[in-house]
Symmetry: C2
Subunit: 440 residues, 2 copies
């Protein structure tokens, strides 16, 4: 039989599941604070949902097949087409702006390489129905607040922001024609990853003059809005974009995330559908691939769902994020260790253990016990290896006197005063323990 | 383009997602109390993981295909093979008993009928490494406590329990040979759903005498352990099974769930692999299909993973359970409505709204605001339609005096004293509101 998962797929044993659940919990918690609500769609969708947006060449990267009813189907490689389909189907009924998020598992048949999986979980956050940059600021603030919630700071993670419309206007000003734009965007997309001479050659091949090439290199090199305004502010459509971005920065400042953000006009985003502000989150050291990417895609809902609604969103996968958190020692997640291990003394009865466990569980505690009679020392070892916090022993008179003994098995960091200490001034009964559990 | 999901697949708009999340939350909460830990495996597995257990005939019900690397793969139709694979791979390292649960989405290419979906979510709870009936009692208690946690009672849901070994011993006593057993089990499996004469004919065809048929009908008709002991207790292997079941009932009593449970020897469970106690949960009215089914499958880990470990588990799907909860008015789940809607007064500033929203969010509250300037009355309407609890207005002097106004937009059931009332004796500032949010 197959002894492992398929290549590129992960088994989540409890320790790995706990890390995945921790990431999902933080994602959900921050999305909740921003008043986004969760949705989901099917992991299997009609194939044409993806070919419609990305063309037939995407099929080579999909898990696609013909189902038993003769339908061409595919495991979802991304969430946006499903989102567009669902919003389009209820476009009139939905309250605008739509503020939705989802945590889908996504699938791509990638060539196997180190760290490249064929599935991952991806937080998708989208705002649909608002064209103003207030929405762009709100969206980026969600992504950045997630970083903060994980314990990361602006020294760990940078948000690089660009604006496709500003870049387009600047390129026009540099003499790049509409027909030359795709070629130049392609150069810009790779400008950080290839030698300057290679980029310069490709710009020349795309029809750019020496001067415009130099000007473009300067734009890619940590330019500020002030510098742009000083040099290009006399062009009205550039000035308009700069004013919008200034307003956007102001909102990011109010939202408490401006210190994470820098303008970086080399952020193009590979996907052809972005129309406005785009952004990516990277670790500041440049060790990992992008943590998160997104932006405004005002035409996509029309193309995919036939409704005219401005939209913007981002995707944040669990793989790069998990690597970053582990590298910073920030991925520790509780495994779900029991609060209590209940044990019988030598003259005690397993049935009393069950009774005591049930009362503790009904008070909300997590409780385990040995499923067969064992010595107290063996039960204590089991409690330790299970990671239980407290060890409660019930003896022969339990049904009459409700008496228990309780020890701390292991100290849980940040748990506050031990129940054992707080129990010191109370009768040593299960009722006392339960009253403390209820209070805590 | 395809306007909907594939047939048999569900779109989870926020309202439906909230119900699904509510079910998942209760599942996880009860599993936590019983100190089970969560795991997951890939939704796509090698096809032979399923054919190995269920034979090639299962392929007709699977979403299976050949991937781009030439591998025969299938979307998982059930979780147990993945569990067996994962446990077998680390059989020595894992603490026993293994107490694991999972909430996988499962897929079957079922013929389309009303209420039959091609995907569902299924809670899987398993105990691996304990052969005593203590484990059987613990497992059933989890399933029943979940019913209680949803607000259901023994008047709504019945747990019907049988024991494959007891039934086998009784059938032997009635003269059924080992070779006749499969045929007789098949009759018993359908005994509630087909006329008595049909069952009797099939029993005769399987080689049973008139007397043994009558005795078997009597066994299927609400028999008690006491009656069994009185009639068959002189047969040692029957007496042994009855003693085990009596101990099992005692444990169920200690675990607080005995009142939900009844012996029902007609519960066979379709799957061939169960070896001991088996059970199903049904709604007491008999309106729906089984809510949950499970039992002991001591040989399966050996067959699937080559390790010798006793095991037991159950599966509980979200579809029938959801229908039952909705029919009882118990499916209401909060949609994630915002705690606060922050608005600007006529002379207020959107940027002050963002500042106030950020402070509230950092205190843990869920906050929405209008992404573009609107009249106060329009903002109030938006707050109402978003389901916000409180409406906070910031005016012109906000940055100097921190002053806010706060109204209740809608009363949330069970929310306790309104912030508005509690704020009465405090300065009307955002700092006061935040101190109340932090306290609550």
């Amino acid at each position: 039989m197959a002894q492992g998962a398929l290549p590129g797929f992960r088994d989540f044993y409890p320790a790995e599941f706990a890390q995945r659940a921790y990431i999902a919990r933080v994602w959900r918690e921050v999305a909740r604070r921003y008043a986004f609500v969760e949705y989901d769609g099917p992991p299997l969708e009609p194939l044409d949902l993806y070919t419609k947006k990305s063309g037939d060449e995407i099929v080579g990267q999909l898990y696609n097949f013909t189902d038993k009813g003769g339908r061409e189907v595919a495991l979802r490689p991304e969430m946006t087409p499903t989102l567009a389909r669902m919003v389009a189907a209820r476009a009139n009924a939905l309250r605008k702006p739509v503020r939705w998020f989802s945590l889908p598992q996504l699938f791509r048949y990638e060539r196997q390489q180190k760290g490249r999986l064929r599935e991952h979980f991806q937080l998708n956050v989208d705002i649909i129905g608002e064209s103003d940059v207030t929405a762009d600021a709100e969206l980026l603030a969600v992504a950045i607040d997630i970083m903060g919630e994980f314990g990361l700071s602006p020294a760990d993670v940078r948000a690089r922001v660009s604006d496709r419309r500003l870049l387009r206007a600047l390129l026009h000003r540099l003499g790049v024609s509409e027909a030359q734009l795709p070629g130049v965007f392609a150069v810009i997309d790779k400008i950080e990853r290839q030698p300057r001479e290679v980029s310069a050659e490709k710009m020349a091949a795309a029809g750019m003059t020496v001067e415009s090439r130099e000007a473009l290199f300067a734009l890619m090199d940590g330019v500020t809005l002030e510098a742009l305004r000083a040099r290009y502010g006399d062009t009205p459509d550039i000035a308009e974009r700069i004013a919008d971005l200034e307003r956007y920065y102001g909102y990011l400042d109010d939202l408490g995330v401006a210190s994470w953000v820098q303008l970086d006009l080399s952020i193009v985003r590979g996907l052809a559908y972005y129309t406005g502000i785009v952004f990516e989150l990277f670790d500041a050291q440049g060790e990992f691939r992008a943590i998160c990417g997104g932006g405004r895609y005002d035409n996509l809902l029309n193309a995919l769902g036939g409704v005219e609604l401005p939209a913007l969103g981002f995707g944040m996968g669990d793989v790069v994020l998990g690597e970053l958190l582990r590298s910073r020692g920030l991925a520790d997640a509780p495994l779900g260790e029991p609060d209590f291990w209940v044990a019988a003394t030598e003259n005690g009865d397993l049935r009393d253990v069950l009774l005591a466990a049930t009362r503790l569980r009904r008070a909300g505690a997590s409780v385990e016990y040995a499923l067969r009679p064992q010595s107290v020392s063996k039960q204590r070892k089991a409690a330790f290896s299970a990671g239980a916090t407290y060890f409660v022993t019930v003896g022969a008179g339990f049904r009459e006197n409700d008496g228990v003994e309780i020890d701390e098995v292991q100290r849980v960091e940040g748990a506050g005063a031990s129940l054992v200490d707080r129990l010191a001034s109370m009768p040593r009964t299960l009722a006392s323990v339960i009253s403390l559990v209820r209070d805590s």
